[in-house]
């Protein structure tokens, strides 16, 4: 198949369009703005809605409104903007409105910087706003993933009536790679709950207010059962040379590509290393971790572009079965040699 050269952010935007997304609401912020700019160019030509909102708060609430009509809709932002969206994401999760939220992430806290980072891991995987909820979180590692995950994101969002977050480092949004353009899909989900005017049916109400205590508990139990179902069905990870690995690197996004090269290099030097790349950050692919431990991995090394947020999830998965260590940078994606150095040191110390 013919490949075309595309920038990550544009591949993601094009993927959304091919998934049938016909509305984009957003507020400019580096390094995510190319997504908005792509939509601003494309939508007038294909009958989609592009609107530059006055803030991320407004943008996410426009998403709430547009998604309530049953349309596929998206917003994108970064760091501070994603924080502002959290109010709306909590409402969207409870109202069960399908949509895709993109975080082309940068380093924080505060204004931080625009260099690549994975510092929003906690925010993304723990819900992020108030209340007991989750969004599904997909972590692309290539420009091809940016297109594919955008399309998959809309499928998952509609299937489970859940907001899906795609979280990619700024570098992935900016870099260019040749990709296969996927065929457009026609969304095939009935949305009888949508607020479109009550002609021929009883009125629909979309609300997140549950004043009677039993009703509130019932809602939370219902949401939990939905999250349990997603956990049972949708954990995704890529594993590489883990079958006989004594040391397993765990890394997502762009970091996983660096980690993979490091694994190949240390294997040449006789170290039995492997890699687990979580694709869904929530639900976290804990079973892949456990399987590697059962296959004999003594030590897990979490590699992150933050200060070690994913370590908690790996430890939860292992429940004391193996040890977890961490190596990370911020604003810089370490090169494979740097990771090889770290792995060799550990291997020597542990006698691997």
């Amino acid at each position: 198949m013919e490949k075309v050269l595309m920038k990550g952010n544009e591949a993601l935007a094009e993927g959304a369009i091919r998934a049938g997304c016909r509305a984009y609401f957003g507020y400019p912020i580096t390094p995510s703005s190319e997504i908005a700019e792509y939509m601003a160019r494309k939508y007038p030509k294909i009958g989609g809605v592009f609107l530059q909102a006055e803030s991320e708060l407004a943008a996410i609430n426009m998403v709430y409104g547009a998604a309530s009509t049953g349309a596929r809709v998206m917003t994108a932002s970064s760091g501070p903007g994603i924080s502002l969206k959290q109010e709306g994401i909590s409402f969207i999760a409870e109202a069960e409105l399908p949509c895709v939220i993109v975080n082309i992430s940068r380093g924080g806290p505060g204004l931080g910087g625009i260099q690549p980072a994975q510092s929003d891991y906690f925010q993304a995987t723990r819900g992020g706003g108030h209340g007991d909820y989750h969004t599904m979180v997909l972590a692309p590692a290539s420009v091809q993933d940016m297109m594919d995950f955008a399309m998959e994101g809309f499928e998952l969002a509609d299937k489970y009536r859940i907001p899906v977050m795609i979280m990619a480092e700024g570098t992935l949004g900016q870099m260019m790679e040749p990709i296969i353009l996927r065929d457009p899909v026609t969304p095939g989900y009935e949305k009888p709950w949508a607020t479109t005017g009550c002609k021929g049916r009883k009125p629909n109400v979309i609300t997140t207010l549950h004043l009677p205590p039993e009703e509130l508990e019932q809602r939370n139990r219902y949401l939990k059962s939905k999250y349990d179902l997603i956990k049972a069905r949708e954990k995704r990870a890529e594993t590489f040379m883990t079958e006989d690995a004594k040391l397993v690197l765990v890394a997502f996004g762009l970091m996983s590509r660096v980690a993979k090269r490091a694994v190949m290099e240390v294997r040449k030097r006789g170290i039995k290393a492997g890699l687990i790349r979580p694709i869904t950050l929530w639900p976290f692919p804990d079973e892949h971790i456990v399987e590697a431990a059962e296959n004999g991995a003594k030590l897990f090394l979490s590699l992150e572009i933050n200060m070690g947020q994913m370590v908690e999830d790996i430890k939860l998965a292992l429940n004391g079965r193996s040890r977890v260590e961490f190596y990370g940078r911020i604003g810089i994606i370490p090169n494979p040699e740097e990771i090889v150095g770290v792995v060799m040191q550990i291997a020597e110390r542990e006698g691997l």
Binding site: R22, A23, F25, V49, L51, A53, E54, S55, L57, A58, A59, N61, M62, V63, Y64, G65, A66, A67, S68, T69, A71, V73, E87, G88, F91, A95, T195, T196, G197, C198, K199, G200, P203, N204, V205, I206, T207, T208, L209
Partner: protein, 245 residues
């Protein structure tokens, strides 16, 4: 035989939870009548605020959503952009619209967003127990201005109709009251005009309605109606502030 006004189809046959003498209920009824008379019930999508109107979807017999505090205009924007043929309105209190949702309302108006806003100005936060609102009058006692609102501490009450009328995108802006039958009728006319503005695609429309909160004003229902006339109207004059032809 006495003729009793028929319940509009756009309202469920259900008792309002509003306090005695609260004019939220009258305003609900007027909105429902306008929607019925203009044949819009099946095309209508309403957005509730956070405030005493939060449960309005329990009364209106058409599609409705409940918004986060102040964000109703953004939600209505999202709906209207996807469904331009539908009639889309928000129902918002003064805390909702003029404080926490100030950015959303100003920009919906500035964009000439083709939605209709029903703005309930009762100079107080009703739902949360009577705190100061941006519209609270100078000298008015509330739980967070216990010595009366002082301009040197809390500034001056905002006049939303006048403010939004300055936006080019505003097509119809009007302030009315419901403190007596004549003014209820005028309110109904204004709401119809606002709806018509949207149906004709002219842009943003808002009717600001002076409303009572006897409970948090600490007044009898009758005294509350008097206060609207004697204290509110002098600061918040009634009338049309913008009519785009």
């Amino acid at each position: 035989m006495k003729v009793v006004a028929k319940r509009p189809e756009s309202l469920y046959d259900k008792k309002f939870h509003y306090c005695p003498g609260c004019t939220h209920g009258i305003i609900h009824r007027v909105i429902a009548e306008c929607i019925d008379e203009m044949g819009l019930r099946e095309k209508t999508i309403g957005v509730c605020p956070v405030g005493c109107g939060v449960l309005a979807y329990e009364y209106f017999n058409f599609d409705m959503l409940e918004a986060a505090h102040g964000r109703a205009p953004a939600i209505a924007t999202g709906i209207k952009r996807m469904l331009p043929e539908n009639f889309v309105f928000t129902y918002q209190g003064d805390g909702d619209l003029a404080s926490i949702g100030m950015a959303e309302i100003v920009h919906a108006s500035a964009r000439g967003e083709n939605i209709t806003v029903i703005f309930i100005n009762n100079t107080i936060y009703g739902m949360t127990g009577g705190q100061m609102a941006p519209t609270t009058l100078i000298g008015q006692v509330t739980t967070t201005s216990p010595y009366g609102r002082k301009p040197e501490l809390a500034g001056y009450p905002v006049r939303m109709a006048e403010l939004l009328a300055t936006n080019e995108g505003s097509a119809y802006i009007c302030r009315t009251s419901v403190h007596n039958p004549a003014n209820v009728n005028k309110t109904k006319k204004a709401i119809k005009k606002a709806i018509q503005t949207q149906l004709e695609g002219k842009g943003f429309s808002m009717v600001e309605i002076l409303s009572t909160c006897p409970t948090n004003w600490g007044m009898s229902p009758l005294k509350a109606l008097e206060r609207v006339e004697k204290e509110m109207i002098p600061y918040f004059p009634l009338g049309e502030f913008k009519v785009k032809e």
